[in-house]
Amino acid sequence: MKGKWFVLGCWTALLVLLTGAWTNGAAAPAQEVVIGYTAPLSGPAAEYGQDCVNGVEMAINEINKAGGITVKGKKYVFRLEKLDDRIDPTQAVNNARRFRDQFKAPAIFNPVFNTIAPMMQINQEKGNEFIMMAYTSTPKVTAMKNKLLVAIPPNFEIYVQAFSDLAWGWGARKAAMVVTLGAYGDEWRAAFKKYWEKKGGTITADKPANYYTETDFSAPLTAALATKPDVLLIGGPSAPTALVIEQARGLGYKGGFILIDQAKVDYIAHILKGMKLMDDVIGVSAIANVPVPAAQSFDKKYTATYKRMNTWEAALHYTAMYALAKAMEAAGTVSDVYAIRAAFPKAFPLLGDKFPTEMFGISEAGRIHLAASVQTVKDGKYDKNDMYVWWVKSEKEVEQIKKIGKTNVPLKFMKPVE
């Protein structure tokens, strides 16, 4: 008798679950727009994937709380769907297809180039198009000539140039490299070598190491430091980069460090519990130091909501999600992806009075116009924080940007290298 009731209970539960799922599915297309997110959400890069998605989620929650977006007089709210891809290209593509088939997601975020590239092979397939919201600084992504691309952070060549010029100004001439392995690290090394040697400097050692699997960098560091460099180009994910700094100092190195843009100064300081070892470091600005009015309030809001450190990843994804929402409003559609992509220029500017990172526009190839902010650490303290405008042709245009922007440090003009 007891068994019978149990079986009956199970069936009822199953039925409830099924009908629940069914009503959900039916209600979705009416006024809900699903935004996809595929990234590493487990494994060594899980932390990074989480930082990124928090930004998107926070923006979506805010937009929904304010009543959603209005497209042609109709209200829409967003729903975030996230799937883990463990940086596996096949899984990422499968996830993307699922977002399209199941939820008709018009846009998908992904913060890893290794999995963005294969997704860009399928995002223009007829009937299954989606906008690729790519968080990657590699110049290769815009070279792919994808019509549905939105690349969020600045091209890292801007950083190569800005960082090298700064180190050069400090009198560094001999540089050694202990950078992470992989396509992104290889490109960075090549770009840095090219620019540094063009300036007349020398590369004394090139000893890449795997930042994703190693924790002991003494071997390549010892070899690199034996060449007595003035400056060391290092970087990969922030946590192992912190170890590289600590181990280089432990080996008696007293020179400076240039951090490739994946590694973040503030995150490293957090891991090293202070900036004692970080003298003469050049890298991407600490997010809390970005000189726009909304940066501080975002920082507070974010840390209160997620109980974790604010990062560039979170702040940029947050602003980019707003840009996407505004592009939909401007395009007058939530489903015609080509129209939404074409309306992106109308979504900008997103300024520092409301957003933690200022975005001024988007290039034809799909790169968002975002000033590159460069930080130096001197005498154990954050020192200079420079913002470079890289997408204009002349100083005069920078003046116009200064007029609309809310940044409270002077924006500097940078002529991009060819």
Binding site: A209, S218, A219, T222, A223, P240, G250, K273
Partner: protein, 287 residues
């Protein structure tokens, strides 16, 4: 020359950690005749216990090290009881599967409690020292000192005490040992306790230098396994020499050739040794 010495020092530091983890693995192999695949994960757990003691309870480094070592000794006994002993008379494959289950529980359990991100133990002795042109931090020097002491103590224990020699007796012939009145089950527990406690000490010593993550045990466990095969499974000198050889290979190969292929050296050496001397460097021929 300085560069060479520096790389040798780096290699010895790495190698002494490898040696001590491999030693634990080889001891257990001697008793159970199966490699404890969860060994690397128990090492990882040792590091996390040390981390929690130091950052949450704010105890000193040495207290944390001792508590973590003792705790892992107890956990080692529990693992032996639950994971291996019930399968003692079963085919070896059952123990393998059970071991893999244990390592998954450990890794995912740690991930559930402490999260997937890397954690940092504050380095108690970060100051660099310079000796004969080699620069090292005190923590690295201490690590070598502690591991060498542990290895010596273990040797003394096995060779000079009655309790210790029961381990050797069981390893050589468990039936014979049982016949002369040695409690094989107790020896088995004791061996597990020593093996995991040593791994915990190594983990606590190395944690302040590196970052601890739930996946840190997997690669180290694999390397310890390679070292045991390299030195001869079940051989104590084999584990020590194998550990140091592997450490030196990684440091010199990483410094002079390329760090990109660091793991290739370990696995390449394994294939080479097995091709030339299938029993390992110090391995005995099967009778």
């Amino acid at each position: 020359m300085d560069l060479f010495l520096q790389q040798v020092f780096n290699g010895i530091m790495l190698g002494s950690t490898y040696a001590i983890v491999a030693l634990g693995l080889t001891l257990v192999f001697g008793i159970l005749n199966i490699p404890n695949f969860a060994h690397g994960h128990l090492y990882m757990l040792g590091a996390y216990i040390c981390f929690t003691l130091m950052t949450r309870l704010e105890v000193g480094f040495w207290t944390a090290l001792i508590v973590s070592t003792l705790a892992l000794g107890v956990i080692g006994v529990v693992v032996e009881r639950l994971v291996y002993r019930p399968l003692k008379d079963q085919p070896h494959i059952n123990s393998f599967i059970s071991a893999i289950g244990a390592l998954m529980i450990l890794e995912n359990g740690v991930m559930a409690i402490w999260g997937p991100q890397g954690q940092r133990i504050p380095n108690p002795y970060p100051e660099p020292l310079e000796i004969l042109g080699i620069v090292m931090t005190q923590q690295r020097l201490l690590l070598i000192g502690v591991t060498v002491t542990l290895i010596l103590l273990l040797q003394l224990f096995i060779k000079k005490t009655t309790l210790g020699s029961t381990i050797e007796a069981v390893a050589q012939d468990s039936e014979g040992a049982a016949l002369v009145g040695i409690n094989v089950n107790r020896v088995s527990s004791l061996t597990f306790a020593i093996s995991t406690a040593m791994a915990a000490t190594a983990a606590c010593m190395i944690a302040p230098i590196f970052i601890i993550t739930p996946s840190m045990g997997a690669l180290l466990g694999m390397k310890a396994f390679i070292i045991c095969i390299l030195g001869g499974l079940g051989s104590i000198p084999g584990a020590i020499v194998g550990g140091v050889i592997l450490g030196l290979m990684e440091a010199l190969g990483g410094g002079y050739i390329s760090a990109a292929y660091k793991d290739v050296y370990a696995f390449g050496a394994l294939i080479l040794i097995l091709a030339v001397k299938p029993t390992g460097l110090f391995g005995r021929k099967e009778a």
